[in-house]
Subunit: 622 residues, 2 copies
């Protein structure tokens, strides 16, 4: 057995959890006792169900507040344990987790704890059960793993070992190097959890904010390297207490969990040097993530209401329709290297006054599409079928967690690269009055409850690197905005998500596609000359800009006239403008990066959101 | 002016916020600069709008990172300030908040800070503006209010004073007593925020988790007593950064804010001794909250599908129909002192297989209904109209935040108290085969985003006292469960709410009404004899109970046979059983309290929820 997950990491009934763990490919589960207590199945029925699903029961947990007690309580605790040993027998569980006592009355005496745990191990041995003693980070007297190991050493019984939980060790800031001093065969179990660095009390941090490896700030590959160097050969088991996962579809969460574990294994396998003593044979590395080169195109889904609006906008931005797709009713629009595919679903007409338009596909160029796909499949990214590409060959497509398709195209240096053959009469790019260079970035709004999954998805599957996040005080609530950028920097994706979920949420932020242009002022003037409106930005914004940045008056006046926003960082400047909303969920942006500006104009996003909200309200929509 | 609120405390556009603050009765607002920057109105238009709404602009905030800088940056900062002073002139704002610098490069030199702040105050004076200097709890060098006061003293300018923010002071654990050393006229502004004790970094704690006074753990009445003793005569202003409020209907949030402020004023006014020097005349106490004596009745709303199910359940629990309401189609059912009113809406038939039934009204007995109503009105609890009571006199009704009506009835020692006259032929209670005593408690599920408001509502309006909360690991997510109990202990209300919100939330937990009975075993046997099903509790629950509590085997066997759950605390025991769901959102409970048991069987709630979920799934609903 290799990969395990604690039932507490998943939502639903115990039966839901087992089904989800099995479907995601786990070999076993840790059975969290409250899940058993609320389950209507008998232990024997459960054991049968797990056998049918191909799941081992890797751990029964937790058994609490056992050690460091007086005689009377000890007798009660032994009786308590005997009943659980019998239960474990019916379940077919061989390892019990005993966590260090949190009882305020527990006696602070290592020798007593060792003696009592030895007695427990002796009784466990009679049932063929092994006891894994874990130091909770908030244990009354034993709250560090080295302390639990000293007690296990003193108890000196073959059926007593330690359980190591990465959260309890790393949240305390303990050096996991010392794990190597523990003989591998005395590490009875390893629980893995990541967590964001929250600088809060360790108990609520653990109970609410754990996440899967790679979703937080802990270095779990380093942690595991020490564990493997110690000689541990047991399962890697995910034990993640997370408020959001507890509410989410367990089948999705289990796949997310498996993805995180595969990525962790890859990182361990790629460490130099690899863990010294006993790297397990199963520790296989993944196909590497080829660095995505650029956006081949972005596909926009439009309905009968939004279609003419989006077409009008694309025309105004200098796009020309250059081809119809061979097999489906989609159109290719191009300006420079920027390509947009319009997918018209003429059957539907949204009930919104503004119609609905949104990003439906991101087509990205990979230098090695096969390798990209192999990696995606190994990381259990869902394959989509039915997407046709160059010369009617199917282009591989992956479903992102929010339902957007990621189409993997071969990279090409040519302006008319292979996949374009798929469009009838692609033609050359027309000379445009408003010349654009390429797609600068795409921004997608995300549901609150999938953000951890989504961030890991783009990092793990496509190797996009996260940039530091921003909090945006949008008019309808605080948003978190985080950018992901490919190595080489040309595929840039911004994800926006509400900071808290709500039962009656505000409308999600719109999707947008930003195009780079050589001169945003000239672009803005072309738009103005054509009578094309730009999202109106209020004077108060420019007044504040003047106060903060002391830009030249002339520049400020031109920006104000043309609705251009401004940001700068250590590397350079960012000048950009927004189109009005084209449908309730889409707008476009024109950006000019000067120098090495590396951001996305985040400080201006709230100004944009407020202006969009005002425009929707004027239409009677918001 | 007395009461103010910062625009950052409310959701929406600046115009939404102003309208909400005015409607809730605030006298003024603190203008949070980002709200201005994103606002399309000119400063003059805003000033006119505020005048029209009767709102003063009590503070312009924040001006950041001014002091402790070198010459060049100082010159820039003065130019920055000059533009803001001019803006404040257009807005009609007279006080600017300057918060202590968080710039890592700020110079740690109190004398320099004082000199520079004095210069700022001199320039402000030319515009008729006063500068309120605030120590942010995470300021680079100045992070405590006594430090900011030393600098203000050293600067010694009439247009420079301090701003005191309760969060920054109390979150650091500073003793607010020292506020009394500051002359009242040098306290230019007071910002009030409460917060739960979260033991986390002060900056994210402040930015995300502030709440209105009375919703957190700070003693703001004591804080304000020191402020008033110092001689402060300015506004009380709420500045609350809260992720949930930022997403919520601003009109509701503003009313919640006003309620919290009125309650705080009451608490200050009732302190003994009252603040010594200058208790403002406006500091008026509220009518006291009469201790609610008992539930007069609970009204259940049923539809055509759930009606026969609920009637069947009530009959099975020994209730008899004793009256029809004179003026509406409602029925009174009674058993002992327990009274349930069934409100049949025969027109609707819910799409659910199970129909919908839920608690719609809590009728509570007050020893002084007039006083209860005066207090509710002063605390801006929404009055409902059209509820008729005894002798066709309208009984006052209040809408709780979740929409449940609270009907205030006169207290009576008689079994047939006054309000029953309203039912035709109320009759006497029939002798019942299954004798009940009274309503033990009512439990209502609540939406995530209103929990702070709801807790304050029941505490402030009805004087219910909160008990320590529990977290319940329900099958569809973590829930928080908190009980509220009247003085005297006979009106008990349990609120259950998800710990996090989600965009696709699980079904809310059901409402339930628990009835006390003298002998739950005999009640259970009566039900069994009548063929009435009880919610099935699985064997694994009893096995765990046996292990944990070592109850006598005989007791365990009987409980298991009859579906009775068990809990105990220091005071006594709690034996209870649940009925099956009667409609998707309602079930009933029978409870027997032995000795001084003071809880609600919280450890058994998750077992109950899992069993209900299984029963719904069996019906194909969940």
């Amino acid at each position: 057995m290799k990969r395990s997950i604690a039932t507490v990491s998943l939502s639903g009934t115990l039966e839901d959890k087992l089904a989800a763990a099995a479907a995601a490919g786990f070999d076993g589960v840790e059975l969290f006792e409250p899940d058993l207590i609320t389950c209507p199945l008998t232990p024997a029925e459960l054991a049968a169900q797990m056998a049918q699903l191909g799941l081992e029961l890797s751990l029964y947990q937790p058994f609490r507040d056992f050690e460091g007690v007086g005689e009377e309580l000890l007798a009660h605790n032994h009786r308590r344990a005997e009943r659980k040993f019998a239960l474990m027998g019916s379940l077919g569980a061989e390892v019990m987790l005993v966590c260090s006592s949190v009882n305020p009355a527990a006696i602070d005496d290592d020798e007593l704890a060792a003696t009592q745990l030895r007695q427990l191990a002796e009784r466990a041995a009679e049932h063929g059960i092994r006891v894994a003693y874990e130091a909770l980070a908030w244990g009354r007297h034993v709250d560090r793993f080295e302390h639990s190991w000293r007690i296990v050493q003193a108890a000196d019984h073959p059926n007593l070992g330690v359980c190591l939980d990465s959260f309890h060790i790393l949240a305390r800031g303990d050096d996991p190097q010392a794990i190597e001093k523990i003989p591998g065969e005395k590490i009875f179990f390893v629980q893995l959890a990541d967590a964001p660095c929250l600088h809060m009390d360790v108990l609520p941090w653990s109970r609410h904010h754990r996440c899967f490896p790679g979703q937080g700030d802990f270095d779990l590959a380093a942690f595991m390297a020490h564990v493997l160097t110690a000689g541990y050969e047991g399962p890697l088991s995910l034990e993640v207490f997370n408020d959001v996962f507890r509410q989410s579809d367990p089948a999705r969460t289990a796949v997310d969990a498996m993805r995180s574990l595969r990525l962790l294994e890859d990182r361990i396998a790629r460490r130099d040097p690899r863990p010294s003593r006993s790297t397990p044979r199963w520790l296989a590395s993944l196909a590497p993530a080829p660095a995505l080169e650029r956006y081949a195109f972005v596909e926009l889904g439009v309905d009968a209401v939004s279609e003419p609006v989006v077409e009008g906008l694309l025309s105004a931005l200098g796009f020309h329709q250059t081809g119809l797709h061979r097999s489906t009713q989609v159109e290719l629009w191009r300006n420079g290297r920027a390509a947009v595919v319009l997918n018209r679903d003429r059957r539907t007409k949204s009930p919104h006054l503004t119609g609905v338009a949104q990003v439906t596909t991101l087509a990205v160029e990979s230098p090695d599409p096969d390798c990209s796909v192999r990696r995606a499949e190994a990381l259990r990214a869902p394959r989509l079928i039915g997407r046709r590409g160059p010369r009617e060959v199917e282009l591989p497509a992956i479903a992102a967690p929010d339902g957007v398709s990621i189409l993997i195209c071969p990279a090409s240096d040519e302006l008319d690269c292979g996949w374009l053959d798929d469009f009838i009469a692609p033609g050359l790019s027309h000379a445009s009055e408003l010349p654009l260079v390429d797609i600068d970035h795409v921004a997608l709004s995300q549901p609150f409850e999938r953000f951890d999954e989504t961030r890991l998805f783009y990092r793990a599957v496509f190797g996009l690197e996260p940039r530091p996040g921003h909090e945006l005080a949008a008019p309808d609530g605080l948003m978190r905005s985080q950018a992901f950028v490919s190595r080489g920097g040309r595929v840039r994706l911004v994800l926006n998500v509400p900071v808290v979920g709500a039962i009656s949420p505000p409308a999600p932020d719109a999707h947008h596609v930003a195009f780079s242009c050589p001169d945003v002022f000239s672009a803005a003037e072309t738009l103005r000359a054509g009578g094309v409106p730009v999202l109106a930005i209020g004077d108060n914004y420019y007044e504040d800009l003047a106060s903060r940045l002391e830009l030249p008056d002339e520049l400020l006046v031109r920006m104000r006239e043309l609705g251009i926003c401004y940001d700068r960082d250590g590397g350079g400047e960012y000048l950009h403008l927004y189109t009005p909303l084209a449908g309730a969920r889409l707008f476009l942006e024109l950006v000019e990066r000067r120098g090495g500006y590396d951001g996305f104009g985040a400080p201006n996003s709230v100004v944009r959101m407020a202006a969009q909200r005002a425009s929707l309200r004027a239409l009677g929509v918001a």
